[in-house]
């Protein structure tokens, strides 16, 4: 029953356009900084945490989330909900992985608290990982699968075809995370333009064209920053949520230059700032 409530809550967040995710898939990022970042975002009320498909990462994140929920009162945020825990991986990283090994990792992550799965698809032929995706569907029963997609290797037509393939052959219930694939992320309109325009093209060429795809939630990611919502609204591009990644990390690094995570007053002010970003 609790799992069903969680799933409903997850879907409500998306339909209410209030889904904000912290993507923690950073290579070689200091683990203490990462847990501090998660801690702050959980207290600020982030909807979901996205982690690398890795058991240790899930365990560490769960511990941090528990700690943040316990301490949230001290920061005046008593009504926060536990964020959804998503594990993700790149298609190219699993395409040659042994299927039993992949299955074992998924099951162990799920047993320790991972609730959803996201695929960062960097292959032009998604059929190559069909068997893996069917395992995902089995492990995360009744859960939507999120696919993160960019235009780097795919044309507009190919993106539409991949989404159709996924829905027809793997899982009807999907979420599309559009990746603007930005290399630099300054807090400017420019950084968030590719993400918004990719969401726009998926809406125009699929969601608005075919009834079966009309309600697929769209998350904006890759280059997202504090100006994303404003630009998307000005451009009349619909979205259900936003994923913050490099912007969150870079902004946190800026904070760390002059402040300390051990100072509750400074943390409190920073949490206020993050609340403005994600709520």
């Amino acid at each position: 029953m609790a799992k069903i409530d969680r799933l409903n809550s997850f879907k409500n967040k998306l339909s209410e356009k209030s889904f904000y995710k912290l993507d923690c898939y950073f290579d070689n990022y200091d683990i203490n900084k990462l847990t501090s970042l998660i801690y702050i975002y959980v207290i600020a009320g982030v909807s979901a945490i996205d982690l690398k498909l890795d058991l240790d990462s899930v365990i560490k994140a769960k511990e941090t989330i528990s700690k943040a929920l316990n301490n949230s009162n001290e920061f005046g945020n008593s009504k926060i909900n536990s964020p959804f825990l998503i594990v993700s991986c790149y298609s190219s990283n699993i395409v040659n992985m042994d299927i039993d090994e992949f299955s074992r990792i998924l099951i162990s992550c799920e047993s320790k608290g991972a609730e959803f799965f996201e695929l960062h698809n960097d292959l032009t032929d998604i059929n190559l990982i069909k068997d893996k995706l069917l395992i995902v569907k089995e492990v995360f029963t009744f859960k939507p699968i999120s696919i993160s997609i960019s235009r780097d290797k795919l044309s507009n037509s190919s993106i539409v075809e991949q989404i159709k393939y996924l829905r027809a052959n793997i899982q009807k219930d999907i979420i599309i995370e559009v990746d603007g694939s930005e290399e630099e992320n300054n807090n400017e309109y420019n950084a968030t333009l590719q993400s918004i325009s990719t969401a726009d093209i998926i809406q125009k060429q699929l969601l608005k064209k075919e009834i079966a795809f009309r309600k697929i939630p769209i998350l904006l990611s890759g280059g997202t920053n504090s100006l994303t919502v404003e630009l998307a609204e000005e451009c009349n591009v619909h979205f259900n949520g936003i994923t913050f990644s490099d912007y969150a990390r870079n902004d946190f690094e800026e904070f760390l230059k002059f402040h300390s995570v051990d100072n509750d007053f400074e943390i409190k002010n920073y949490i206020k700032k993050i609340k403005n970003l994600i709520l």
């Binding site: 780097d152 290797k153 309109y189 420019n190 325009s197 093209i201 451009c235 591009v237």
Partner: protein, 345 residues
């Protein structure tokens, strides 16, 4: 190319360098002589820098006639036109049946995915494409399984070879190839023909992302520059022929593709730092504003549907248009140009 400094070629390059190039697209398939004449007449008076017309000597002549009439009228209305606009002819647009026809090779695996994607029902169940119906849009190729790769094209290069010199003779100074198709090899063959047709003129390749990923788009531009060198212009096409509504949403894809080319090529590779980018495909009165807001550099803006629409109600034969109607049309056209290339106070 220094010897061409001060020439029309130099003028074109200067306009692009200063981001002041505004081009009216009369329509690659627009064979209406009277409309083209009228559009060129009004937009020349409004200060338009260039016109994009169908690859037909008659249409080029109509454009020249409209421009010439504008110069005569300008004296009467005391309007200063700084230079004669540059005429570009458009060829090779996806869907242009004069340029290419698809056929299915023996590698076909009979998956039949191509049949429903054909907009003209040119692919029957026996998978022998009906040449007369094929418009060369490339939809069949886009769905053809990569392992089969069974869609190839035949190219009517003889047609291009014969028509382009006539267009140049009639007054065309530049040629544009619409090349947003997946097939690199055939596109570059057409590009060679275009390049050879105006050896001393700027040539433009118009690209969109319908069938091209970001990576393929950049590779296509690199290949195009190998042939055209500093004569190359890239027309970054958002969603071709989509400029119906005058808002940010309609022009978003056009600004976005220009941004992508800037970031993935112009800012990264010195060889391309001066590559002129024209924004097109869904352009309207908001294009320049959105590009500036998002920090997207461009050399010019080309507008078709929206630009034609805003003056269509005044359209009549040139001698019959009243001064009052003409001035209203010119004012609308001028506002559109100035708003886009930021000449408004």
């Amino acid at each position: 190319m220094n010897k061409l400094k001060g020439s029309r070629f130099g003028l074109y390059q200067d306009l692009l360098k200063s981001s002041l190039f505004f081009k009216l697209v009369c329509g690659a398939g627009n064979e209406d002589v009277k409309e083209v004449e009228y559009l060129c007449y009004v937009y020349t008076l409004a200060g338009c820098a260039g016109f994009d017309v169908s690859a037909s000597p008659e249409i080029v002549s109509a454009a020249k006639k409209g421009i010439s009439a504008a110069f005569t009228k300008a004296r009467e209305l005391n309007i200063s036109i700084p230079f004669e606009p540059i005429i570009t002819v458009s060829v090779g647009m996806p869907g242009d049946h004069h340029v290419r026809k698809a056929f299915i090779t023996e590698e076909c695996v009979s998956c039949n995915l191509c049949i429903p994607t054909c907009p003209t029902d040119a692919i029957p169940k026996n998978l022998k494409i009906i040449t007369e119906l094929c418009i060369g849009c490339g939809n069949c190729e886009a769905v053809c399984p990569p392992a089969a790769n069974a869609i190839k094209y035949t190219h009517n290069s003889k047609k291009l070879l014969s028509i382009l010199p006539k267009c140049v003779e009639a007054g065309a100074e530049s040629i544009e190839l619409h090349a947003g198709v997946p097939d690199d090899e055939s596109t570059l063959k057409e590009w060679e023909i275009v390049s050879n047709s105006v050896p001393n003129g700027m040539i433009s390749m118009c690209l969109d992302r319908k069938h091209l990923s970001n990576d393929s788009l950049i590779e296509r531009i690199k290949a195009a520059q190998n042939i055209a060198d500093e004569r190359l212009i890239i027309q970054a096409d958002g969603i071709p022929m989509s400029g119906g509504t005058d808002d940010f949403n309609t022009t978003l894809q056009a600004v976005s593709i220009a941004d992508l080319i800037n970031k993935k090529l112009k800012f990264k590779d010195k060889k391309f730092s001066n590559l002129p980018i024209l924004i097109s495909g869904g352009t309207n009165s908001n294009t320049g504003n959105l590009a500036r807001k998002c920090g997207v550099n461009f050399s010019g803006i080309t507008i078709g549907t929206h630009a034609r629409k805003i003056i269509s109600k005044y359209q009549t034969n040139i001698p019959e248009i009243t001064n009052n109607e003409l001035q209203l049309a010119v004012k609308k056209a001028r506002n559109l140009i100035h708003k886009n290339i930021n000449l408004l106070n």
